[in-house]
Amino acid sequence: MLMNHLRNCGKFSTLVFADHSSGKLSKSTLKILNAAKLLNQQISLLVASNDASSVVDQIKSSIPSNVVHQVLVAQHDSFKAPQADLLGNLVKQLIDQHGFTNFVTSTSTIAKDFLPRVAVKYAAQPITDVIAINNDVFLRPVYAGNAIAQVKSNDKVKFISFRPTNFEEIQQTGDKVSNIVQVKVENTKQLIEHVSDELVQSDKPELTTAKFIVSGGRALGSKENFKILDELANALGNTAIGASRAAVDAGYAANDQQVGQTGKVVAPELYIAVGISGAIQHLAGMKDSKVIVAINKDQEAPIVSVADYTIVDDLFKVVPELTKKIKEIKQ
């Protein structure tokens, strides 16, 4: 007890959970590091993986040492498809050992799954989906983004998730982090067994990190018709395909393509909403995009009021023409 107390005394520091998949460090990690910097504390970065080497290599070549003080590497077979029980145990172990006062993640589904589970061990109330910090006040959207709550916390250990789309990536200049520390995973008692993953194979970038997004609504009419968005995305380059909830429910697009408060929250440089009327919960997921274009037959659709530019016309006429003309520019 006394040792723990001495070790923690007067020391405030932040542990950031690194998102990665298939051996690639996620861009969201570079963004939430920028958010974590606003907490003004020394930052440690945690990599939990069954094979951490390539992620650690990417960190060593991209993340400056003035941003991340040390990288904690927890390598364990069960982190191949990590579940909330073991990730929670690991983070609890590290907080107890190092006395971290903030634990920070992105809003990835992995983080959403385990962050509250570990917070409760410290009787802490997590502050999730944070979009900005003003001194000690956290801003987070509530009511599907129709209101922004300003939140303060008294918790001794704060558990915070940041929306990556609201933060820029860290500058990658200067000396890179070289302090790599291997962590021995202590509690490996598993409650949840991973059976399988069924991931959507796609040549497109992820919605939350893509430069551009083309999104389709129910007006597309069928899964086949969604392909015209594919062609537009290919012409633009670095473009992800999104969908409204109605389009996902109709089976035109996959579940994880849904943009909205209960799906993915995105903020690309350009968001093209094709045949999407713009339900409140959809707008909540994309209204922070830098430029919004709507292609819609109905000039009265709610999407028009948030779109910078709207073409009021038949999408089946506009989208192919736009694709063709963007291809011409890009040549």
């Binding site: 993953d197 909830r245 994880d256 830098k290 910078d308 963007i326």
Partner: protein
């Protein structure tokens, strides 16, 4: 097997909320059962119809009007209900940490084998309570469920994760939080709505089970910045020109 289903009463998702500095204006606003909670109730009823569970108990925390959401759950097919009463605002002062603690007390009291709930409520949008309850009880959990199979005390759950779907399994007891595509809740029939009125409903004041932590304080609530849109462009050529010259995109 006994299932506890947590439900919350929230502002109807179709309502455009009025934002005031001390929170959303709830005066005279249409309230309904949180859509994700309704999916959790429906799933419990389906499990009971398959004879995989024997009893469904619905629970809510909140002011007296919260009983409406319990009656809704009873009309859909829950057997009994528990109303933990408080006058505190359930979209601000009653936080996931509080709800998880209260639910844990009820689980210990009544020995449930499974807790079903929505993945998040559409007021505070936290998406935490199920995970926190599982952490408190040291139970396995499956969040964002889009399919639930229960065989011989083992739950196999398909979860919606970034990039696709994931299947996990665990031995019950456990906590499962429900995503949108798990099921399509049924409409309560008039006879079932009538029947719900005579089903048992236990009322417990919140302070009998614990006190609110208030570990985070909402100091102010504001409307988000309004985006100025609305410009109509005549055709694709004008759009491309605007994107290049004004937005400087390509």
């Amino acid at each position: 097997m006994k299932v506890l289903v947590a439900v919350k009463r929230v502002v109807d998702s179709g309502i455009k909320v009025r934002v005031k500095p001390d929170g959303i204006d709830l005066q005279g606003v249409k309230m309904t059962i949180n859509p994700f909670c309704e999916i959790a109730v429906e799933e419990a009823v389906r499990l009971k119809e398959k004879k995989l569970i024997a009893e469904i108990v619905a629970v809510t925390i909140g002011p007296k009007q919260g009983a409406e959401s319990l009656r809704h759950a009873l009309a859909l097919g829950a057997d009994k209900a528990i109303h933990v009463t408080t006058e505190a605002r359930i979209d601000q002062a009653v936080q996931p940490l509080d709800v998880a603690n209260i639910l844990a007390k009820l689980v210990e009291r009544d020995n449930y084998n499974l807790v079903l709930m929505g993945k998040q409520s559409i007021d505070d949008d936290f998406n935490q309570t199920g995970q926190m309850l599982a952490g408190l009880l040291d139970w396995p959990q499956a969040t964002f469920a889009s399919n639930i199979q229960i065989t011989d005390g083992i739950a196999q759950v398909i979860r919606e994760i970034d990039g696709g779907l994931q299947t996990v399994k665990f031995k019950l007891p456990g906590v499962i939080t429900c995503d949108l595509r798990l099921n399509q809740p049924r409409f309560a029939s008039v006879p079932n709505i009538m029947k719900a009125k005579s089903k048992p409903l236990e009322t417990i004041p919140l302070d009998k089970l614990g006190k609110l932590h208030n570990s985070i304080q909402i100091t102010k609530t504001e409307a988000p910045a309004i985006r100025k849109g609305g410009a109509i462009v005549e055709n694709v050529d004008v759009l491309i020109q605007k994107l290049r010259n004004e937005a400087k995109l390509f």
